[in-house]
Symmetry: C2
Subunit: 160 residues, 2 copies
């Protein structure tokens, strides 16, 4: 058994637990003075860093959730005036979800708060280590998604 890998996985499990648990989000939301729940924050952040209005299906895929979940979250954000939806000019079945002015501001705060936890954690790191982590994590997330997509698409019998 690969001990090094086990350590990596354990570290990951720990950070995932930290990010998942309600207290972490509540703490961040309190600090930022927001009343935004986790799925709402995820959508806002995604819209912010994708830059332009996105379709519901695209958001769902990016966040790796099913579309009904996005539908509901977008509806809540819309009621709060944080996003607005317009018919997709190219496809009458679809909508484009975009940030309103206020939504953009809130999204900025969400992202900043989200980053701040990492920023503080890495405060004492040398720049090279930060850069390395960025590079390696980026690659890992890509590789992992690739594998998963491939397996989920494959018929059960073909699965390794």
């Amino acid at each position: 058994m690969d001990r090094e890998l086990a350590v990596t996985v354990a570290a990951f499990r720990s950070v995932v637990s930290t990010l998942k648990r309600a207290k972490t989000h509540d703490l961040m939301a309190t600090v930022a003075g927001m009343r935004i729940d986790q799925p709402e924050a995820q959508v806002l952040i995604h819209l912010l860093d994708s830059g332009d209005p996105r379709r519901v299906g695209a958001i769902a895929q990016a966040l790796q959730v099913e579309s009904p979940h996005v539908t509901r979250t977008v509806a809540k954000l819309e009621r709060q005036g944080l996003v607005e939806r317009v018919r997709d000019p190219d496809d009458g079945r679809a909508w484009r979800i975009g940030l309103t002015g206020q939504g953009g501001d809130v999204a900025q705060v969400c992202m900043r708060v989200n980053m701040e936890l990492f920023e503080t954690a890495m405060a004492g790191w040398v720049p090279q280590d930060r850069a390395e982590l960025t590079r390696l994590l980026g690659r890992l997330s890509e590789d992992m998604l690739g594998i998963l997509e491939a397996r989920l698409d494959a018929p059960a019998g073909q699965r390794p």
Copy 2:
């Protein structure tokens, strides 16, 4: 705004989503031929890599969840014959939860399947990159936990 940090956080968000979503666990469980849900797998893995029987409270703390959650999960595992509990010899209020023989086997499978996703993702990586990721993630998880504990313990007024 620190662009590099934003990329790190985004990559992390992606991996977290991947690991959280039901399909990922289902896929892994199917591959391993197990009928173990996520919280059960987490407890088994924790017991496996801590090596010896653990108290409910200790498991809860390690997994960053509340103890009632662990109580229920342990009860389910006990019914399946995967863990057993004995009174703590030093403290009559407490229990020690340990893996049974069968539980140990299942825990091994859980851990292997868990690692396999990472292993496959990093298959093409040079050894140095793997080692770096291990080192950096280990440090990140420690630093992050430290910050969070400090903040959750602090009275609301003192929070930064």
